[in-house]
């Protein structure tokens, strides 16, 4: 037909486009990750991958399993809600294999100050002290960190 002869080049272009589209669909079929779309527009395996990341803080229940004596002392004082690792740092390695990691001795000059240094933005009623409070003496000379009330035995 005349129209095919005159418009033949347009059909060739259309064929090129169609071939490109088919190629795209094939490549797409191969490359889209298999778990994509299972729960939504994302790779469902990402959820598992993120959930499998290593844990560094063991959580206070893990500490209490072995250190029930400390837990007894702590539960009687105002530091009861403070988690062990809040001061002692992340210790999941120690919790899984106690012999492999020895938790470091803490420096009360830095540690206690962070929470208890006087600051006007802290809530009223929260125990705060200023720098002259101890006259340069270490906090744990008078306060046992696990149960910090003055009547409790100090560490030093």
């Amino acid at each position: 037909m005349q129209v095919f002869r005159d418009a033949g080049h347009l059909f060739r272009v259309a064929a090129v486009f169609l071939a490109g589209l088919v190629l795209f669909l094939v490549v797409r079929g191969c490359l889209v990750p298999p778990s994509f779309g299972r729960y939504g527009h994302y790779r469902a395996n990402a959820i598992t991958e993120i959930a499998a990341l290593p844990v560094n803080y063991a959580g206070h229940r893990a500490c209490e399993d072995c250190h029930s004596d400390v837990q007894d002392v702590k539960s009687k004082g105002v530091h009861k809600p403070v988690a062990c690792e809040s001061c002692h740092g992340p210790l999941s390695a120690h919790a899984s294999d106690p012999a492999s990691v020895t938790p470091a001795k803490l420096d009360t000059a830095i540690l206690c100050v962070r929470c208890h240094q006087q600051n006007i933005a802290k809530p009223n009623g929260f125990p705060q002290v200023n720098a002259e409070h101890s006259g340069g003496v270490a906090c744990d000379s008078c306060h046992q960190p696990h149960n910090p009330a003055m009547t409790a035995e100090a560490t030093k």
Partner: protein
């Protein structure tokens, strides 16, 4: 990375996310859209006066469109994963859908229209050249050498249809970039329904200016006389589009100042201090008001051809600088202030870095190199007979 902060910023906001490359990207796509709209003036709206720039405008659009993805690739943290936008595009994301708009515009509009317009020349060139050029042209013919008047008429009709489809496609191409910014509710400098419209009209202004300048430059290089009727018409359209663009930008500004919402104080301070030079001086005064005034003079006063040419070149250059400044003010400006409205940061632009100034300069020059190649392969104007042959005929 110690970036000085004035006031308070959320800690993660201090470092800018989108660099000068992301300023360059809307600038380049804007030139594409604008150049195409100019081309469509002749094809669809029958403005015969601008015909000499038709093919040049299309090639300019193609040269810039090919470079457009490059700043994006350099910016991505993982450019090797960029194809994921085509595999699993998130339909709620303007950025994802833009990948398809880009592909559509490149292939179904621009490449197709250029091919149809040049097909006759391509077939002729495939017969008259040798070596790799001949092979290239033969490939471009797609095996069809039918350049009979009827076939060419089919081409003409098809090209017209594509141009008609191409105009909203060009609007979509750059309007989308505006929407990418305008739809971010977290950023009050960007979030506005006017953003796509402002982007589009400033794109048209810059695209028309660049084609006008390129036409004048290339014609002068070819030692041909510049068609004054053509450039006068282009300048007229540039002027009208500029008026609309300026009105839109002023509307946005006045609206902000009047409503003075929670972000206003912070943004106002930013424009008066950190953005003063790029926004007030470069974008508004030098880049918008000055070209409008200059073009207005050419519309009302009777100037000589030479005087008009000079004014057009000056206005064109100022326009291109001004529109770049506009993109800078939107992209960089939108990241200089804190979303807490309590502080400001600064933009530390590297030079030789992956997203540095050098990369930006190279990417700005690259489209002109591409254009040079395209002009050599697909000459926009018929070759003039050489002087030597004319002389020997005497």
């Amino acid at each position: 990375m110690q970036i000085p902060v004035d006031g308070f910023m959320y800690p993660n906001e201090v470092e800018l996310q989108w660099s000068v490359l992301i300023v360059l990207y809307p600038y380049i796509t804007g030139l594409v859209a604008g150049a195409f709209i100019l081309a469509s003036l002749e094809r669809v709206f029958q403005v015969q006066a601008v015909k000499p720039t038709y093919r040049l405008a299309l090639l300019t659009a193609l040269a810039f469109l090919l470079v457009a993805p490059m700043p994006l690739q350099l910016h991505l943290g993982h450019p090797e994963r960029s194809f994921e936008m085509y595999l699993t595009p998130h339909t709620s994301s303007a950025m994802a859908m833009f990948g398809f708009v880009y592909l559509w515009y490149l292939l179904a509009v621009l490449v197709l229209e250029i091919w149809l317009d040049y097909r006759h020349d391509i077939v002729v060139l495939s017969h008259t050249t040798t070596g790799w050029r001949c092979l290239l042209y033969r490939m471009l013919t797609l095996g069809s050498t039918n350049i009979s008047p009827r076939a060419l008429h089919v081409d003409e009709r098809a090209g017209w249809v594509i141009t008609v489809i191409g105009i909203p496609s060009a609007f979509l191409l750059h309007g989308y970039v505006g929407f990418i910014f305008g739809s971010v509710k977290a950023n009050p400098w960007w979030s506005s329904p006017l953003m796509p419209v402002v982007f589009l009209f400033s794109a048209m202004v810059s695209g028309i200016a660049v084609v006008m300048l390129l036409y004048m430059l290339l014609t002068a290089m070819r030692r041909e006389p510049i068609d004054m009727r053509c450039v006068d018409t282009i300048a007229k359209y540039l002027f009208y589009t500029f008026i609309i663009d300026f009105s839109l930008e002023m509307l946005d500004l006045i609206h902000r100042i009047y409503e003075a919402d929670e972000s206003f104080r912070s943004l106002d301070f930013m424009v008066h201090t950190r953005l003063y030079f790029s926004h007030i001086v470069v974008q508004i005064v030098l880049g918008t008001v000055a070209p409008i005034v200059l073009l207005a003079i050419t519309q009302v006063a009777k100037l000589t051809d030479l005087a008009r040419k000079r004014v057009y070149v000056l206005s064109g250059c100022l326009t291109l600088i001004g529109i770049f400044a506009m993109r800078w003010n939107v992209v960089i400006g939108g990241q200089l202030f804190s979303k807490s409205f309590l502080g400001y940061t600064s933009y530390k632009m590297g030079f030789v870095a992956r997203e540095g100034l050098l990369a930006a300069i190279i990417l700005t020059i690259l489209p002109f190199i591409f254009l040079w190649v395209l002009v050599k392969l697909l000459p926009p104007w018929p070759a003039k007979p050489s002087r030597a042959r004319v002389a020997s005929a005497d």
